[in-house]
């Protein structure tokens, strides 16, 4: 423990942003009266070069061991001042920042007196808290430069190849006996018109040639332990059990088209699914001359209220392929909204219309009725029911999550949504990340995706994983929760509340929090009834000191 506390306070004018409302001279004078404050300095702009070098010089000159800056928001400027502390030779967490701009001069500009009082209070609290600051160190953990990719469909294979291309080793798991996923049984991929099987074979050949990728087929993931950069994954494959050390994990477990049992007289013969149609197209066994396709079968209905994104384009693609084989074939697509977004899809939709494919809209309230040899549909433009000839009825069913999504979710401790699609960290800005650092996702496991989209996401997920894998070690700051096991009453409160499922009970029945895994949210600290969990940089002593200073 240090013998003497020597605190320096730096008060910023921020041009007129702060000084235009607050009396800086008064604040400096006031700060000088606070306990343990040995120097107070005003700055026109503390963040400018003169300001930061001023902090460094003052630390040396006055032998400071705590720094308090009263200026703007820590969101933008805290790292700058922390760096100044570090450069001056004191622990960067012996630093406290007070926001007298956003919290005082900006919001209370019409009440200068109150703003001044509040600024004084905030500075007093910060100085009080600074006395209880503790040094916080960073710690390092080695990174295993190998990735685990779960699922060897088009997404998983593309991810594995990208990671290998970036120079990392890959363990690729496929639950089926062969790689390829959904594409293996499909006909052609739109709009490139490349055979789906051909595309799969290209990727499989590339993987087999790539020395960095080890693929395990008929594989099941059994257990994953560890944390970012340092996971241990146990899986079985063809009767053998393996354990691989990996630094990052990509979930590419895919999805499957819904089997429309009990819908529209589905029988797999005269009423089939789009995938079954593709099998027929692939083998050249399609002889029907009148085909009716029905969209949104089992999708956008109360029990499965999502749009499966790709089925409209699948129907459009297949109707064009039918027209290619038999120009005179009658093809009707009964739809609710055609999802032909973007440039390519809309162009293909237009092409289908030009090729003579008929698109008829229906409402959920008056769905088509599949009869013998025809389909009855209410035609909105004609304003009446019309029978459409249908030797073959093709149902467009949504992609649904695989049954094993839940077990993968449980093993990796990552969430799925109500339809069991994996849930990304942020819908907008982190579409390929999980909230847990080190695990990423792509393809149908996330949400139905076209081949183009699945490959894009796969490459993207590989890039996200490479960020971890490209480092020899990961550095973490110790602003995390720590358990005092002496105080722990084994109540499991922390285990229950942690959104990242980090706390667990050790062999002695006491809570354990692995600092590398802790995301520093602090929820467990607040919940722990025994006050056994403390948080680095926000300790009870610090909070109490600040509160007492406020009420003093």
């Amino acid at each position: 423990m240090e013998t003497e506390l020597r605190i320096g306070v730096f008060v910023c004018h921020c041009g007129i942003n702060i000084a235009g409302v607050l009396d800086i001279e008064d604040l400096c004078e006031y700060a000088g009266t606070l306990p343990n404050v040995v120097t107070v300095q005003p700055n026109l702009f503390t963040c400018a070069e003169t300001g930061t070098s001023g902090i460094k010089n003052a630390v040396k000159e006055h032998d400071l061991n705590r720094v308090v800056v009263a200026a703007c928001t820590p969101r933008t400027h805290e790292p700058i001042f922390r760096a100044s502390c570090q450069e001056a030779g004191i622990n960067p967490y012996f630093f406290e920042m007070v926001n007298i701009r956003e919290h005082c001069s900006w919001v209370h500009r019409h009440d200068r007196e109150a703003a001044q009082g509040k600024a004084r209070d905030l500075i007093r609290m910060a100085v009080a808290r600074a006395m209880f600051l503790e040094p916080i160190e960073t710690f390092k953990s080695k990174v295993e430069p190998r990735a685990l990719v779960i699922g060897a469909g088009i997404a998983g294979m593309s991810s594995a190849l990208a990671l290998a291309g970036e120079g990392f080793d890959v363990t690729l798991l496929e639950k089926k006996a062969e790689m390829g996923g959904l594409l293996r049984d499909l006909h052609k991929v739109a709009p490139s018109e490349v055979g789906a099987g051909e595309l799969v074979e290209q990727k499989v050949a590339a993987i087999k040639q790539e020395g960095r990728i080890q693929c395990f087929t008929s594989a099941t993931l059994e257990e994953v332990s560890g944390y970012v950069g340092n996971y241990s994954a146990t899986f079985s494959s063809n009767g053998n059990t393996h354990t691989h050390k990996v630094g990052a994990i990509i979930v590419a477990t895919g999805g499957a088209p819904l089997k429309p049992m009990g819908l529209y007289n589905y029988d797999g013969k005269r009423v089939i699914t789009q995938s079954e149609l593709e099998t027929k197209l692939k083998s050249g066994k399609l002889d029907a001359k009148s085909i009716v396709m029905i969209q949104c079968v089992g999708a956008r209905i109360p029990e499965r209220n999502y749009c499966s994104r790709i089925c409209c384009m699948v129907a459009i693609k297949n109707s064009l392929h039918i027209k290619e084989i038999a120009k005179d074939a009658k093809v009707f697509v009964l739809y609710r909204d055609i999802q032909a977004y973007g440039v390519e899809n809309e162009a293909l939709f237009l092409k289908a219309k030009e090729a003579g494919v008929r698109f008829i809209r229906y409402n959920l309230e008056s769905p088509p009725v599949v009869g013998d040899g025809n389909v009855e549909i209410y035609h909105p433009a004609m304003g009446k029911e019309v029978p459409l000839p249908a030797e073959l009825v093709v149902l467009s069913t949504p992609i649904v999550a695989h049954d094993d999504a839940e077990s993968v979710s449980r093993i990796l401790k990552v969430p799925v949504n109500e339809y069991r699609f994996f849930l990304e960290a942020h819908a907008k800005l982190s579409p390929l990340d999980f909230a847990t650092n080190g695990i990423y996702l792509c393809g149908n496991a996330h949400y139905p995706a076209t081949v183009r989209e699945a490959i894009s996401q796969a490459l993207g997920a590989a890039s996200r994983a490479s960020i971890i894998l490209s480092h020899d070690a990961i550095e973490r700051v110790g602003t995390v929760a720590r358990v005092d096991q002496e105080l722990c009453s084994s109540c499991f409160a922390c285990v229950k509340v942690c959104p990242y499922q980090v706390p667990h009970m050790d062999e002695g029945g006491k809570a354990m929090i692995e600092p590398m895994q802790c995301q520093g949210c602090g929820i467990c600290v607040a919940e722990c009834p025994a006050e056994a969990i403390q948080f680095g940089y926000v300790s009870d002593a610090q909070i109490m000191a600040a509160c007492e200073a406020l009420c003093a």
Binding site: G15, A162, G165, N305, Y306, Q339, V343, A462, S466
Partner: protein, 486 residues
């Protein structure tokens, strides 16, 4: 040979690609032609389907990319020439003079406050004004001011230098010159984004002639707290009327002073009477304007018109990908501003194909009372009191109907950004039939030139998460390229 990467375009796609590369230890040059990075996403108020505040979720990314030790931000910079190939490109860039020293400026804003020039603010879709020395938007990065030399008095040969005099950091430098220099990089990522289609070409929609027919991006700014109305939902005609009132009040004040002077000086009564008469006329028209303003204060009915310039062979054959969700979001957010508001969306197909999108639309109908009408709008006419009237055939009822609205928002098409064709020529890659960068569907970020990759809306219309995914994908391809060749 170089293992560095150039990213062209500092919108969300370019930022994400830069961050992915920098985090993997590669040096990145991020070039942006505007004074600040942020792109179109920075202009949005909220984002679907989570209603997150756009700049709030983007802000940290802006800081992160600026602060990262492996990135070099080159804002207000144009790419002028490119030589060489994958693994070894030489790129000539021009960093335009800001006339403000980036290292010294602390963005205190005093200069802009005192600058006597006032010009339309492009960031706020010209619905507000800014000064000649300005920050592109409040949260813009780098956080420095820029002098627009096309309007600054100094550059027009007039006497000024208020900003230089008032700047306490001594950052203003009228002598600053453009800097032209070369960058040597192993790979290039094109993230030049898109432009919003200008609907004034579609005469029947009255954009530009009917004041309360506006674009979706203009509506975003009207909803935004840092927009021209401070986030108070108002129609453009009301804003215009307010400006007229302000102008007239100034004139009246002036005339009154003149009258006082004339009476005091004992000028002849004819002249005094004339001024009195003019003053009375002005007061009368002021009353008229105030009455008009009062009548415009209430905003109750908003229409959203989909596929404006999209899915229309006369303009753009393609679908803008995000327009349906964008309008539903704007309707939802507008209702959160003003609970009595009624929104009607005239759509072709409701394209809500992403995760949680369909559910969001359903909520829009059930919780926010959005009225969905299937049908393409034929014409927007001007009705009583200048109100826009939407003519449309409802495809469900098969009836042609007309509805008056207080405000009509056009969901305008997503078109290739202005400079994309010349950039394509300079870099040598191909464009598709709509003018976006052409890619092979099975190699989604590869352009036709080895070592040059594309992401975000430069590749085609797409939403934010798709742009972000593609940005990471482009980063992966760039890494593979520089590791193999750089």
């Amino acid at each position: 040979m170089s293992r560095d990467v150039l990213v062209i375009g500092g919108g969300i796609a370019g930022i994400q690609a830069s961050l992915d590369l920098a985090e993997q230890g590669f040096t990145v040059y991020l070039v942006e032609r505007l004074p600040s990075i942020g792109g179109k996403m920075a202009q949005l108020d909220k984002t679907f389907p989570t209603n997150d505040c756009s700049i709030c979720i983007m802000g940290p990314k802006l800081f992160e990319v600026e602060r990262h030790p492996n990135t070099q931000l080159l804002t207000y910079t144009d790419v002028e020439a490119v030589k060489g190939g994958a693994g070894n490109f030489t790129v000539t860039v021009r960093k335009k003079a800001r006339y403000v020293d980036e290292a010294k400026c602390t963005a205190c804003g005093l200069c802009a406050e005192k600058c006597p020039v006032s010009v339309p603010d492009v960031f706020n879709m010209n619905m507000d004004t800014r000064s000649a020395i300005y920050k592109y938007f409040p949260q813009g990065i780098p956080s420095v001011y820029t002098i627009d030399d096309s309007v600054c008095r100094i550059f027009k040969g007039k006497k000024c230098n208020i900003c230089a005099k008032i700047c306490e950091a001594k950052a203003v430098n009228y002598e600053q010159k453009d800097a032209v220099f070369d960058l040597n990089v192993g790979a290039i990522i094109v993230a030049t984004g898109f432009d919003v289609f200008d609907p004034s070409d579609i005469k029947p929609y009255g954009y530009g002639t009917i004041p309360d027919v506006i674009t979706a991006m203009e509506f975003e700014r009207l909803l935004n707290a840092s927009g021209p109305t401070g986030g108070h939902l108002e129609r453009l005609s009301s804003l215009n009327t307010k400006a007229e009132i302000e102008q007239l009040e100034k004139q009246i004040k002036h005339a009154k002073a003149g009258l006082k002077r004339a009476e005091k000086n004992g000028q002849n009564s004819d002249k005094v009477d004339e001024v009195k008469k003019r003053l009375a006329e002005m007061n009368e028209s002021l009353d008229g304007l105030k009455a008009k303003e009062a009548s415009l204060a209430e905003l109750r009915d908003i229409a959203f018109v989909q596929c404006v310039g999209s899915r229309d062979l006369r303009y753009n054959a393609h679908c803008c990908s995000y327009g349906c969700m964008h309008s539903v979001k704007e309707a939802v957010v507008a209702t959160e501003h003003e609970s009595e508001l009624k929104s009607t969306i005239f759509f072709t197909d409701m394209r809500a194909y992403g995760k949680e999108f369909h559910e969001y639309c359903l909520r829009g109908g059930s919780e926010y009372g959005i009225h969905f009408v299937r049908g393409r709008v034929a014409e927007i006419a001007q009705g009583d009191g200048g109100r826009p009237v939407v003519w449309c055939e409802d495809m469900d009822t098969r009836k042609v109907e007309q509805h008056p609205f207080d405000l009509v928002v056009l969901a305008t098409a997503c078109v290739p950004s202005q400079g994309s064709a010349s950039l394509a020529t300079m870099l040598g890659f191909n464009l598709d039939e709509s003018g976006f960068v052409k890619t092979d569907p099975n190699k989604p970020v590869d352009t036709s030139v080895q070592g040059i990759f594309v992401c975000g809306c430069a590749q085609g219309p797409m939403d934010i998460p798709s742009s972000v995914s593609l940005a990471s994908a482009a980063a992966s391809m760039a890494v593979q390229t520089v590791k193999a060749l750089g």
